[in-house]
Symmetry: C2
DNA sequence: TTGAAAGCGTTACCAG
DNA sequence: CTGGTAACGCTTTCAA
């Protein structure tokens, strides 16, 4: 725990020179720099974080607010938490956790005490109470996810609508006339912000292209392992020739096993595309085409926006939607036309 | 962002009196206190965290190091992360995240810069490299989990051995002569610290009581949904009349569904006890008796130990094992003696 | 019960 | 290229 003045003495220079040599904010001659570096090494000097914060008027800490509602998919969420931490560290920032009951009150606290330079918001709800709070705070705040009312906020997210549209277009181009979507759990369509956006874009684009759509959720709850199977069965029975998946990793695995059991071959009998998946698609038993939601991408962008906001005045409110990328795994193919046992076209569900 | 001197002026008192009135470290007359509180309210004053840290020589921040290895069960892990955050806040502390690549290097960083007052260690491996590091740091460090070599360290954990023994004793008392354990995934027995301890205690206590044991892992990997079914089938086939579960939530659900399909009735045909489960046992389709690992309990204790360590000199190295509690859900019953179709006793596995 | 002032360990401005 | 020194905003000792 040596202090900067000890380093200065050992190197025979002034305190300010040591500071500048370390920060690089002022040129220092190679000779003195060397003496300082030696002194630092010998004394094992490391600048005191608290003093640095006070003098530098910057804590190098981002607060991460994450209420973690009961219906949030934990592994997905964790991937985002880790991604923010990694992204922050690249810019020499640390992440301070504001969870559960502290998610809201903690925001006020770190803002008014100046503990955090900026706030990153995770687990965004459509009617998130942190929206109003963020507007009232002087501390820059970046939402990772898009609340219904995002006027004046900085938000980052995958362009889910574009991803859904792209999936539909791919399938329509291949001749599919009846496609289905397996969505997330029912509650996700009430409590989360993007599932409804995906569904709406999917249906809208399909209508534009004259493709008939079907939709099923993964079931009422995350614990329900059967919901997916039933949903898939029903859509197959309805004559669907392609399936868009917007669900968590478990649901993907269940769908694949169900298809496997039924002897449905991909992509010959059925085309499959995953949209907005935030897990590694290649760990599935049968990797499938995807338009993934990449946590690192969203979080890197969020951190960059947070940093920009620090340079007072440079705040740019608005949606920062990330263009989706299509990853091919040969799980989609042309629809080979009507076969003998094609069922009657039922009403859309 | 009012400052303390503004509050002092507004209240017509000195800076130090404001500080003392707010911290309560010195008696302040009711009259002045009131004037100060009014000034604080009017100005919306909130002490600056950085200045407080520097002057108070305490950051009120705990670093949480969590490498999050690939084979770590994420929901369980997350429960611990949240529990540390909640426990810390109760003592006015915040949690700073050190994940993945930062798990080790970050420890050095926050220790040498004085960013954290203490370090909490999660996701402890048997041969954890953070053990040696913790010994070399001046910053108090508390392990939540027990590494093989814990000489001189402060460690908190459930007394897994006691829990395993208790489970065996319960079953032995009820007359069971052949019991099985469904353990975690195979890799958990190499890369984590407590699974081997549970298994060893289970087998040792059973041997003492003359009970024959069987053991199976949940399969090679977390993604393998079939491992549990096979494991259970094999143990049932071997004539096991009671099962001790030391596995994650998914595995519990799979076991229950398998037993249900086979028409095995609990506790009449089979007794079931869960050991070291860190999820809510009552969300299972059929709640079962358990000796749970309660994240909040471990983390509260860890935070308390960390705080004690701050009062220089009060450090008490050693294992702090939490006594297990037995939660009854009527999932164990007496063994009704040998029935007609009892299989031959095979060699223990 | 209260006040004055000396730190806490840096950063960054102003001089040279 | 380098040094002196005034902040940074609070805590806490010393004095009254």
């Amino acid at each position: 725990m040596a202090k900067i003045n000890e380093v200065a003495e050992a190197a025979g220079v002034s305190i300010s020179t040591v500071s500048y040599a370390l920060s690089g904010k002022r040129p220092v001659s190679p000779a003195t720099r060397k003496r300082i570096e030696d002194a630092v090494a010998k004394l094992g000097y490391s600048p005191n974080a608290s003093a640095r914060m006070l003098a530098g008027r910057r804590t190098n800490i981002f607060a991460l607010t994450e209420p973690l509602r009961t219906d949030t998919h934990v592994p997905t969420h964790m991937a985002f938490v880790l991604a923010t931490a990694v992204a922050a560290r690249r810019h020499d920032y640390d992440i301070l956790l504001l969870t559960e009951e502290q998610a809201v009150s903690g925001m006020k606290r770190v803002a008014s005490s100046g503990l955090a330079d900026a706030i990153l918001v995770l687990d965004v709800a459509p009617d998130d109470e942190r929206v109003a709070l963020a507007r009232s705070l002087a501390t820059p705040t970046v939402f990772i996810g898009v609340p219904d009312d995002h006027e004046g906020l900085v938000c980052v997210d995958l362009d889910f609508e574009a991803a859904a549209r792209l999936a539909v277009e791919k399938l329509a181009t291949l001749g599919h006339q009846r496609i289905g979507m397996l969505g997330m759990t029912e509650s996700a369509y009430e409590k989360s912000n993007f599932p409804p956006r995906v569904r709406a874009a999917y249906e809208h684009r399909a209508a534009e292209l004259g493709v008939q759509t079907f939709f099923r959720t993964s079931g009422p709850a995350q614990t329900d392992r059967n919901g997916c199977r039933v949903a898939v069965s029903e859509m197959l029975a309805a004559g669907v020739t392609a399936l868009v998946l917007h669900a968590n990793e478990d649901a993907h695995a269940i769908v694949l096993s169900e298809l496997d059991q039924r002897g449905v071959s991909i992509p010959y009998d059925l085309s499959l595309i995953s949209v907005g998946n935030s897990f590694d698609i290649d760990t599935l038993a049968r990797p499938i085409d995807s338009l993934p939601l990449i946590p690192a991408e969203s979080c890197n962008r969020a951190v960059e926006l947070a940093l920009e906001s620090l340079d007072e005045g440079h705040r740019q409110p608005g949606l920062h939607l990330i263009a989706p990328t299509y990853l091919s795994r040969d799980s989609i193919g042309p629809w080979v036309g009507s076969t003998s046992d094609e069922p009657e076209a039922p009403a859309a569900m």
